[in-house]
Amino acid sequence: MSKALSKHPDAQTIPVSFILNGRQQEIEVEPHELLLDVVRERLGLTGVKRSCDVQVCGACTLLVDGRPVSACTTLAFEVRGRSVLTIEGLAEDGKLHPLQESFIEHGGFQCGFCTPGMILAAKALLDENPNPSEDELKHFMHGNICRCTGYKKIIESIMAAAKKMRSTGR
């Protein structure tokens, strides 16, 4: 995947040094470039999805320094000096994250389009609150929309993963 930028003659470029899924990345971006486009089109990681494009649906959720953001409405230069996690970086040494395992085990997805965003948002929740109530979970996740599951299975998946993570300390 090319990291080169087709530059406008008088384009302003901003060097962006950041960590992507645990690996140092050095790129140059123009101010108007969106994180979603840079990650998908230039860095080739297509787990993050463009859907509503207005920060409502959560399909473009990425974690920046562990916190969920909408990549569709984040300027790419904002990740200077930060750490970005996409769904591709969640498994460690080929072993799926407990949330990923739990979504499989409990049928937490159907078409899968919202799943990367769901799982990353859930990770952000469980990292700050390892033992959420169902109400806390729903409040945190209400900005991630699924049009297939009806959410019951997603909630079950996250609650089950939380339990597993608490017991294994992961």
Binding site: Q12, I14, P31, V56, R67, V69, T73, H142, N144
Partner: protein, 287 residues
């Protein structure tokens, strides 16, 4: 898709004001970008330049002093929903912040950006009007205070001068026996109607020493409703509970409600009354 723009990254309030003065309407302040970038992506607004103000130090703090809580304009909604000092002094405001949009918007969206963008369907301005907050506006040549109720002029319009920026919001520390409540209603992503009440009781007399009412979202901008306050001010708690329906009708008419996808004018006016009653009861129950 965003069109190309040039990015400025000033380090001081003076520099920002100077850039605003120099580039006028072709430049816009950029903080969290949660509202601005959406409007730019839609092509509703275009700017040659964005002025990233996040490099200015000291604008993202919450501090106590001079009988007020000073909230830096660059505080994110998330920061405010998790601020222990605020939770203690202004629980209604923390609750409001906890329910702004969704977790991703709260993560990057700033209170200052929210207020300055003045999107009609926004929560914070309504409660700040009821809490008698002051907006601190600065430019290269000086600083002024603006009452929250004067700050909002129209949809997407504040009274800030072209080279001025909002640097902080000062909320008076609530007096003894005071409480506030903000309630909103809506089935779309943004609130359709928002109502805020801030009141102070005289406990011995079981009466309302003071009450301030803010309404918003139904119309173009948050506003205070003195005529509805007058109906309730000085009344006993029991009288106030009886009179609140009348105050609600007045507040509903004052809301400048418009018919749109969120609901008809009449419907929104009705909801203002319903929320005012509930907000009054909620605030009273906290005293």
């Amino acid at each position: 898709m965003l069109r190309r723009f040039h990015l400025e990254e000033p380090r001081s309030i003076g520099e920002i004001s100077e850039l605003l003065g120099r580039f006028g309407e072709s430049a816009k302040i950029y903080a969290g970008g949660t509202e601005l970038l959406l409007a730019m992506k839609e092509g509703l607004v275009q700017y040659e330049r964005l002025i990233n103000v996040k490099g200015v130090q000291g604008l993202n703090e919450v501090a106590n002093g001079n009988g007020a809580i000073k909230i830096g304009a660059l505080c994110t909604h998330r920061q405010l929903e998790n601020c222990p000092g605020l939770q203690q002094k202004l629980p209604a405001f923390v609750e409001l912040e906890h329910n702004v949009a969704n977790v991703r918007v709260r993560q990057v969206g700033t209170i200052g950006g929210n207020l300055c963008f003045a999107e009609p369907h926004a929560d914070p301005g309504i409660l700040l009007v009821a809490l008698d907050a002051k907006m601190i506006a600065e430019k290269a040549s000086g600083k002024r205070e603006i009452a929250a109720e004067e700050f909002f002029v129209d949809a997407y319009e504040t009274c800030l001068e072209p080279d001025e920026l909002l640097t902080a919001i000062e909320v008076p520390l609530p007096a003894e026996n005071s409480a506030a409540a903000y309630l909103k209603f809506g089935y779309l992503e943004r609130p359709s109607v928002g109502v805020a009440v801030a009141l102070t009781l005289i406990p011995a007399e079981k009466s309302l020493a003071d009450i301030r009412i803010g309404v918003g979202c139904a119309g173009p901008a948050p506003k205070r409703v003195p005529a509805a306050e007058e109906i309730l001010r000085g009344k006993s708690i029991e009288e106030a509970k009886r009179e609140v329906a009348k105050a609600g009708e007045v507040a509903g008419r004052a809301a400048d409600a418009i018919s749109d996808l969120h609901g008809s004018q009449e419907y929104k006016e009705h909801i203002v009354g319903v929320l005012l009653k509930r907000a009054l009861h909620s605030a009273l129950s906290q005293c």
